[in-house]
Symmetry: C2
Subunit: 304 residues, 2 copies
């Protein structure tokens, strides 16, 4: 029952000797989602043991190179390694043309289908939903059309305790009622409370991804009370004017949004190449929002 996020790239526009452009893998109960795919993402996956073929959904926040230039190489590798399962891409629809143009000139025929899901940059929308998770996109304010994403795990159904199954030999009808949270009356007329029969419910987690964006309180309703918020912190707080001009955020911007949205934890990244050491950026966040963290590339944060 995983709920974890692994950072593959934490650099902003240009990579450094130590940091790669944006890419993350979210694992929700063994469903893997790739969020952004900067240049070199497939090498990072190799380096950190991500199983390339297990990813079936890729979300691209926007078409700045540091968020998508690794996509074509990764897709080629998937095909060369024999993938036949379709791959879903959630992105600005213009990416479809870019990808098609590449495979046209390279005369490479993929062994699997790419299914494009165009993002809306003017309103929020549910872009994916299954029995375990829903994903909503929402507009971010950046220099070009850009989306954030919020992943909400669904509450898993009640599981009946093994001991209760053995003791009471429930009928199918009773099992259904118990899983709905109802109490049960035995043949002897004894009422048994549902919580005696079922395992305690596991918490359903949520994760929001906001990169790239200027400080924008309008995104608070979309990310309200998530368990983990990734918010870009391209610049330290002394570069507030530059952040505004480039439509990026500072450490303090991200921390203020985290506070306003009452999230549990703030994860930062998308660091400008000017910072060799980024610990001071984390400290600036903590001054405003104590529960802030950063991860080294390759590191994984397990919420469960």
């Amino acid at each position: 029952m995983s709920f974890s996020v692994q950072i593959l790239g934490s650099s902003s526009a240009t990579p450094t000797k130590y940091r790669n452009p944006s890419a993350q893998v979210l694992n929700v109960r063994e469903r893997l989602f790739l969020i952004d795919c900067g240049e070199g993402t497939q090498m990072q996956m190799r380096k950190y043991g991500v199983k390339l073929q297990r990813i079936n959904h890729v979300l691209i926040s926007h078409l700045h190179g540091d968020h998508y230039l690794g996509l074509i190489g990764w897709i080629s590798t998937l095909s060369l390694f024999g993938r036949t399962k379709e791959l879903h891409i959630y992105a600005d629809l213009r990416l479809k043309k870019i990808i098609q143009e590449h495979f046209f000139v390279s005369e490479m025929k993929l062994n699997f289908e790419l299914i494009f899901h165009p993002l809306s940059f003017s309103a929020n929308q549910i872009i994916y939903e299954d029995d375990k998770i829903s994903i909503e996109s929402f507009p971010l304010k950046h220099r070009i059309p850009c989306c954030g994403f919020v992943f909400r795990e669904k509450q898993s159904e009640l599981n009946i305790k093994q001991s209760a199954i053995e003791k009471y030999k429930f009928t199918i009808e009773e099992i259904k009622r118990i899983k709905q949270g109802k109490d049960i009356t035995t043949e002897q007329g004894k009422e048994i409370k549902n919580n005696k029969l079922t395992e305690p419910l596991k918490k359903a987690y949520s994760y929001a991804y906001c990169s790239d964006t200027i400080y924008d309180e309008e995104l608070v309703p979309y990310i309200n009370k998530v368990d983990l918020l990734y918010h870009e912190t391209t610049f330290a707080k002394d570069l507030q004017d530059l952040a505004k001009e480039k439509m990026h955020s500072t450490t303090v911007d991200a921390a203020r949004i985290a506070k306003k949205a009452k999230v549990q934890q703030l994860l930062i990244g998308h660091f400008s190449a000017r910072y060799k050491d980024v610990d001071s950026l984390l400290q600036e966040c903590k001054e405003v929002f104590e529960n802030s963290i950063l991860l080294e590339e390759g590191e994984k944060l397990k919420l469960r």
Copy 2:
């Protein structure tokens, strides 16, 4: 007076944990040429201390992703780091459209001009020439249009020995004649042989790059007697049939071409991801052509 080649990527189609896609930097007397630019080339440049901005000419052999997908990211970085000097790109002209499409959707305006020089895939042609070097492209046989390149250093002019300058106080006319290789007669009627007045000429080196190609004897005239031949060796000799089918070369193919072209030295690369250790590939080459080498990524071979 450098003449060196540095390997930034030695993998074929897909990168491995240890090898990156094709890219090399050739340094001819401090003129730097980037040959192919697979995904991650800019990161490799950072890692191995290549000065990004010193490269003014990029040659792309063909439009398979492992030979060009690093180009857009590297160009973006050049611009973000303040480049204003024009950059020359020698490639299939369709690359121009791909690059333009990227900068259109990313709404990024470069601070410098990209100058495209379309390659011919049907005949050899001189694609670059200055006072120090000429570069000729020639067709390779691969699955899509593909070029090889041969870099020929020009013979440097004769340099007059410092001691002779001090002793004879030559006129401008005399200096011109000496630099042309002529002997000199002093006012006293004494003839002085040119080789007494000038430094010995430095050897002019040549380098040929052949990736990707099937075994093809038609390329021998283009690379005849070069000092260093880079020839792809995607496969070991036992995969001859696969090499033919994929229009790539084996170790023995490359070594036979090196032998037929009477080159001084063979440098191999573009190794299939199936080979973790590539020393055995080098051994197979050496059995046919003794003076074969391979370089680790980041390593530089200095001919002078």
